[in-house]
Symmetry: C2
Subunit: 136 residues, 2 copies
Amino acid sequence: MKKSDERLKSRNIKPTAMRELVLKILGEQDVAISLPELEQKFEKAERTTLYRTLKTFEENKLIHSIDDGTGSVKYALCNETCQCHPKDLHVHFLCSKCKQTYCLNDIPVPSVNLPTHFTLENINMVVKGICSNCHK
Amino acid sequence: MKKSDERLKSRNIKPTAMRELVLKILGEQDVAISLPELEQKFEKAERTTLYRTLKTFEENKLIHSIDDGTGSVKYALCNETCQCHPKDLHVHFLCSKCKQTYCLNDIPVPSVNLPTHFTLENINMVVKGICSNCHK
DNA sequence: AAGTTCATGCAACTGAGTTGCAAAGTTATT
DNA sequence: AATAACTTTGCAACTCAGTTGCATGAACTT
Ligand SMILES: [Mn+2]
Ligand SMILES: [Mn+2]
Ligand SMILES: [Zn+2]
Ligand SMILES: [Zn+2]
């Protein structure tokens, strides 16, 4: 059995041709990508199918989404053990020059003390600035 | 001269009737509001004018925007001394029950150590959970 | 084989945000 | 006060990401 199939099955996602292909593409990226960007990686793409594929992946925590404020939500693979709990989260970085969105997997989201009677479910932390590539 | 006029002028914004009205409405909110929500606060609203008013306000740092991932950007008044620098920033909170977005003005955005050659311009930190109101 | 379930493809739609342009209003100049 | 220059507002049209309904097709179950 394919490695990608196992990865899908480990998240309870039925491996179809489409899903394997999307997983492969996501694995090739070193930055997070949006649905429109994913669409462009296909000759003849079916927006809806890709949309639903991403949704299935996200619901099953194979990928996570990042709202970086650019108007299109970005997606990136979770690591194999990720459960998308607050303790699993990392910081994201949007370069204001090249517009790429990076997963800073080594930088955990700092904990915050909320006011009384506010409870935490999730955190989206996006740092904006200039990436190392654009500084060269 | 009106207090609102002074507030506008202190940010180099010409005080017009529309702008005073929008500023007044923003001052009355205890949560951040979106353009569509602002629109609904008027009988007969001109979306474009409100849009441009918010843009002008934001460019001149009278208000700041929050992308809370709900699909519509929220806006809230800056405090009088705010320059929207990273050190001026505070955490925002989106309640997943009532969908309100709060400015947690007392909770500064924690500093993060970025990888080498990444420079910081801005941070958007949105905590999602249940607000105190929804816990009652 | 027939039935059931799930995935895909297509079309149509929603809703936030944005732009161009003309009309109205404001401010400066003569 | 009249004119010119500039700014704000109103309207219409548009873009684009995301989403839904429904029909078709594939895979799996009995
Ligand atoms: Mn990430
Ligand atoms: Mn705020
Ligand atoms: Zn960059
Ligand atoms: Zn709430």
